[in-house]
């Protein structure tokens, strides 16, 4: 698989610079917003073709908002998104919108809610082609049959005219994947696509996605809170905490050698099926706060066991500790460049 990857030109598909998304909090619809929820705050990363980036963090840390902002379901407050060399931060012209939306897709968490109950499987899967006015009806049917077969719904013609409620959870998620891939997108955001599935089907669906990513040379953002899933699926991991990226690096690197106290705590919370296993567990205090008008200090300051006075005064930048491993913590200031 590594050979196949290196064969593809290491082209940067998506580049995100200083991406911010703030939600205004208003008391009444007519008053001006006095405070803002900093859902995504100053995110920087880039993904190359065929790469999978995992966005990891606990709920409410801005993973899904990041995904939706990248797909322009939300208008970014600030920052720049470059997709295949084109600035797509503010898709102004209809032509640009059409181009971007035909090349990007999303797979949703809940396969029970993400398929319209009043549409047949054919209508659902062919919808992107329908919206983009792609191909004749015959071509659409052929393409839908082909992609359904590819995602493991077989025989496809037996499912084409069924409704979502006649399918099982795993089948539904396969249909949702088929819908996302029917237009051969370059960039796909998968928002916890396996978290609503039975454990028995989870691996099947994950393996299917891995195969499809390798086959179609897609750039993938995989949003998850499950580090085991992230380790299985992703090449790079970005750990988020309260809207900020606290650690970024190659997946194995981050999981074997976590640097940020928050990442350490996350990894120490993963259960190991070995009663003899002794691990230094890292206890952190309190629960996740709210990123409403946060002060310019380390967001993890109040919960961090290593917090120093400086952490409560300044905001740590991302220090590169080598091999592309970045961490936003003053503890690594000396190692960082």
């Amino acid at each position: 698989m590594d050979e196949a990857k290196s064969a593809v030109a290491q082209e940067t598909v998506l580049k995100v610079e200083h991406l911010k998304k703030f939600f205004p909090l208003r008391k009444s619809p007519f008053s001006r917003a006095k405070s803002f929820l900093h859902a995504v705050d100053d995110l920087n990363f880039e993904i190359k073709r065929g790469e999978v980036l995992g966005l990891v963090g606990e709920s409410g840390c801005g993973k899904t908002t990041t995904g939706k902002t990248l797909l322009r379901l939300y208008e970014p407050t600030d920052g720049k998104i470059t997709f295949l060399g084109k600035d797509v931060t503010h898709l102004k012209s209809a032509q640009d919108r059409k181009w971007f939306h035909s090349k990007s897709q999303m797979i949703f968490q809940d396969p029970f809610e993400s398929l319209n109950p009043r549409k047949t499987i054919f209508d659902i899967v062919s919808e992107p082609m329908n919206i983009q006015n792609e191909g004749s009806l015959k071509q659409r049917e052929e393409r839908v049959m082909e992609i359904l077969k590819r995602v493991g719904i077989s025989p496809p013609d037996a499912f084409l005219w069924r409704y979502p409620h006649e399918l099982s959870g795993g089948q539904r998620q396969r249909v949702a994947i088929a819908r996302a891939l029917v237009m051969n997108p370059q960039f796909v955001v998968a928002d916890e696509p396996t978290s609503m599935l039975d454990v028995s089907i989870r691996t099947q669906v994950m393996t299917l996605m891995m195969d499809l990513i390798a086959d179609m040379h897609m750039t993938f953002i995989y949003i998850t809170h499950d580090l085991a899933v992230a380790r299985y699926m992703t090449d790079h991991i970005a750990v988020m905490y309260l809207g900020r990226m606290v650690e970024y690096g190659e997946t194995e690197d981050v999981i074997q050698n976590p640097l940020h106290p928050y990442t350490k705590a996350l990894i120490s919370a993963v259960p190991i099926p070995d009663p003899e296993f002794k691990r230094k567990s890292l206890q952190i205090k309190g629960g996740i706060g709210k990123a409403i008008d946060p002060p310019k200090i380390c967001r993890f300051y109040e919960r961090c066991p290593f917090a120093t006075e400086r952490c409560g005064k300044e905001e740590p930048p991302l220090y590169d500790v080598g091999n592309g491993h970045k961490v936003a913590c003053f503890l690594y200031e000396k190692d960082g460049k």
Partner: protein
């Protein structure tokens, strides 16, 4: 993959869509037929429809054909029966439900009015549902100022003194059946139905399948037409049934006050009996055939559409089902 093999397996989408529609109709019919009240309503409506659309034309062409008796022709709906000595006459073999003070056959009037009541009720309800569905989904989808405007308008319409308004209006313009259907449809279309359909559309609006279509680049009208309206449609259809009842009822009230410019209707029959003084005091029991048939017809038809609505309610809201 061989394309021929796929093409052979494909049926034309239109025939499949028809089959699917038929299948879902059968499924929904099964649920509907389990509700006794809905089936009862349907039967009453069918009986009225047969009476109005089939029985009346046959009888009008045969028994009630305007005949020359002596010098004058007799039309059972409008004319005076000179062969009858005293009018109003109680039910007899010649006039099954008797005659009214003007010598007109009560049964003929009753049957003559039936198709018109249907047309009025269904036209008004169609207009109401059409407006209500569009306004409800649009204001739910766009929100903000559009939403505020239409919802406050709906509040106003809900508080609107409907019958007094029509009374005033009838003084200014001639209200016939078509105009009445238009007015009822327009006014109630902006009222309560928009609030109900808006709340349903709000539920659909936040579903991930809407976001999924947005990711594919769907425009706002596409989302409303293809995703939101199909999901509120069953509820619109249900409210259509309740609106038929409302329209027929309003028509009866207005004709009872003699405010409509129409040839004959159930309300008008009661109006005629009332103005001639046959529903006053002890007369009410004595001349029962003047008010009971039209009164019962109004009650039954209004009730029947309401019952159908209740039956459909069980199809639309699975929570109401007893299974």
């Amino acid at each position: 993959m061989a394309t021929k093999e796929i093409e052979g397996a494909l049926e034309s989408p239109l025939t499949i869509k028809m089959k699917l529609a038929w299948r879902s109709f059968k499924e929904n019919w099964k649920i509907f037929s389990e509700s006794k009240i809905g089936v009862l309503g349907l039967w009453i409506v069918i009986i009225f429809a047969i009476a109005g659309f089939i029985v009346y034309p046959i009888l009008a062409a045969t028994v009630w054909k305007p005949t020359l008796s002596g010098m004058v022709s007799y039309d059972p709906v409008t004319g005076y029966d000179f062969t009858q000595m005293l009018n109003p006459a109680p039910p007899s073999l010649h006039h099954l439900l008797g005659t009214d003070p003007l010598g007109r056959d009560v049964l003929a009037q009753l049957l003559y009015s039936t198709p018109r009541e249907f047309a009025l009720g269904i036209l008004a309800a169609l207009i109401t549902v059409f407006i209500g569905t569009i306004i409800g989904t649009v204001s739910a989808y766009y929100g903000g100022a559009v939403d505020t405007f239409f919802m406050r308008l709906a509040d106003l319409v809900l508080l609107f003194p409907f019958i007094p308004f029509l009374i005033v209006l009838s003084g200014m313009i001639q209200i016939d059946l078509f105009r009445l259907a238009l007015i009822i449809g327009l006014i109630s279309g902006f009222g309560g139905i928009t609030i109900v359909l808006r709340s349903q559309a709000m539920i659909v609006k936040v579903k991930p399948f809407i976001e999924s279509a947005k990711v594919s680049g769907a425009s706002n009208p596409y989302l409303i037409v293809n995703h939101i309206i199909p999901n509120v449609m069953p509820l619109s259809f249900l409210y259509m049934m309740f609106n038929v009842t409302g329209a027929i009822f309003s028509e009866a009230v207005l004709s009872f006050f003699g405010l409509l410019n129409i040839k004959m209707s159930w309300g008008l029959m009661i109006y005629t009996a009332d103005t001639a003084g046959y529903i006053v005091g002890s007369n009410i029991g004595h001349y029962w055939w003047l008010w009971l048939p039209p009164g019962a017809a109004i009650t039954l038809l209004c009730g029947a559409f309401y019952f159908i609505g209740r039956g459909l309610d069980e199809v639309v809201n699975p929570r109401l089902r007893r299974r």
